[in-house]
């Protein structure tokens, strides 16, 4: 790049990535510096995942990467090459809401809704790891998700209710 003339005339070097998102394979050529959150939102058009901060603190960008809840703003899309990603859009099945989505709705676990996709994706991991969590566990495991509206009370209530719902569903399935 010519510092004297800052108009960048070189086409940026790209790299091929292949990522499975919500069960669908996507192949793209992207700049390595593309953050996974921008890949998901701008390249794939899945805007349920949000950018809420500049500092990897707020968790509004939380998605599931190979089964683990991660902050997609702190991962380059090239690091997710070959990986399996689930976003908030991937939770509902056959038009039926995921128990967490139902529970957040029933328990008024959101106001503006900006933190909510991240909260739900983080909560999904909580219930994966702790199917019958205590309130304290839920609060501690939501350390990575900030909410400016609710004061967390109904969020925690929603997660606890979802735990019950999912446990009932498992019993219903004879598990």
């Amino acid at each position: 790049m010519n510092i004297q003339n800052p108009i960048i005339s070189d086409k940026p070097k790209t790299r091929a990535v292949e990522v499975t998102v919500n069960g669908q394979k996507f192949s793209r050529d992207i700049e390595p510096r593309t953050l996974l959150v921008h890949f998901i939102r701008d390249h794939l058009g899945l805007t349920g995942t949000h950018v809420g901060c500049d500092t990897s603190q707020c968790g509004a960008c939380t998605i599931s990467l190979n089964g683990a809840a991660v902050k997609s703003c702190t991962i380059f899309a090239v690091q997710a090459d070959g990986a399996d990603v689930t976003t908030i859009e991937g939770l509902a099945e056959d038009g039926r809401l995921h128990p967490l989505q139902e529970s957040f709705w029933e328990n008024h676990g959101l106001q503006c809704g900006f933190c909510t996709p991240g909260m739900i994706m983080a909560s999904r991991q909580i219930l994966d790891r702790y199917p019958d969590p205590t309130e304290e566990q839920v609060r501690h495991q939501l350390d990575g998700n900030l909410c400016r509206c609710t004061g967390y009370y109904n969020i925690v209530k929603a997660v606890m209710a979802a735990a019950k719902l999912m446990s009932q569903n498992r019993q219903g399935d004879g598990q």
Partner: protein
């Protein structure tokens, strides 16, 4: 929010990685979990022209016992440390510490090697590395180098890792099962970094005197440090509430205590003294008497 451009490399072997390190020198950065590096890159405080992603190499992850010592691969995630049965049995201080780093999402990606190389003054692992006299095993084209923890943390964000080196393993001595441990942390509310973090290991004699004391402190100075004066005051004396309180008053001695906008120097020093006292008490409570 948008990092500068870089070339991304995924070496297939350590050999290839070392060649890349040598070829690109100061223009290259190794990426592990990326949860210290990428935030810096997003603020453009770091703009490496080349990123060498070694996080997919299985030989750099894992926890094992080798020659009577614990070895942790540098690319082992905090989640893996947190849930390690081997560590829970042999060195539970580390499970307890890893469980309170940042948040669950960060713990799924962040690694012990990254934490130790990044040398953030508020990071948690450095406190335990100092308390345990850990050794860092580094590899370069020139060969292997072992660096003691006491010589590793040089300053704010500064470790002894050379530009062409890769930290591969952290080696730790095992503690007796009778040694009590505690990791107490006062986290910053939003960032979850340590305002004060104390790693304490206390051994107890049959007559309830202190047999051994190891105290590593983070969040207070420019680097993590050993509270040697506190340790000296404890060893050989009865482990009473009074003795622990008296010793903990010296926790900030010899440390260049760092204040910030939120926490002035004297407040930080007092928080340090209080947290050290509590950590010693908890570790002492968990220690069991050595058999005579």
């Amino acid at each position: 929010m948008y990092p500068g451009s870089f070339e991304y490399h995924v070496p297939a072997s350590m050999q290839e990685a070392l060649e890349l390190m040598q070829a690109y020198g100061d223009d290259a950065k190794v990426m592990s979990g990326g949860h210290s590096l990428i935030p810096l890159m997003k603020m453009r405080l770091s703009q490496p022209a080349h990123l060498i992603d070694m996080s997919r190499m299985p030989e750099l992850k894992g926890i094992r016992i080798a020659e009577g010592r614990i070895e942790i691969g540098a690319f082992t995630t905090h989640r893996q440390v947190e849930t390690s049965e081997l560590l829970r049995e042999r060195l539970p201080l580390l499970n307890e510490l890893a469980a309170v780093i940042a948040d669950p999402q960060v713990r799924n990606r962040g690694t012990i090697g990254g934490s130790v190389c990044h040398a953030d003054p508020g990071a948690d692992f450095p406190a335990a590395m100092m308390a345990l006299d850990a050794e860092m095993l580094c590899v370069s084209k020139a060969g292997l180098r072992t660096v003691k923890a006491s010589e590793w943390f040089l300053g704010i964000m500064e470790s002894a890792l050379a530009p062409d080196e890769i930290l591969t393993t952290i080696r730790l001595p095992m503690q007796g099962t009778d040694v009590g441990h505690a990791y107490l942390k006062l986290p910053h509310q939003a960032s979850r970094f340590s305002v004060v973090g104390v790693a304490a290991l206390i051994g107890r004699d049959p007559d309830d005197t202190c047999a051994s004391a190891r105290i590593g402190i983070t969040g207070v100075g420019t680097t993590a440090f050993r509270a040697r004066q506190v340790e000296a005051m404890l060893v050989g004396k009865p482990l009473t509430e009074e003795a622990i309180l008296a010793a903990s008053r010296f926790a900030a001695e010899g440390c260049n205590v760092q204040g910030d906008l939120a926490t002035p120097i004297e407040q930080k020093a007092e928080l340090c003294r209080v947290m050290v006292g509590r950590a010693i008490a908890q570790a002492a409570m968990r220690s069991t008497k050595t058999s005579s």
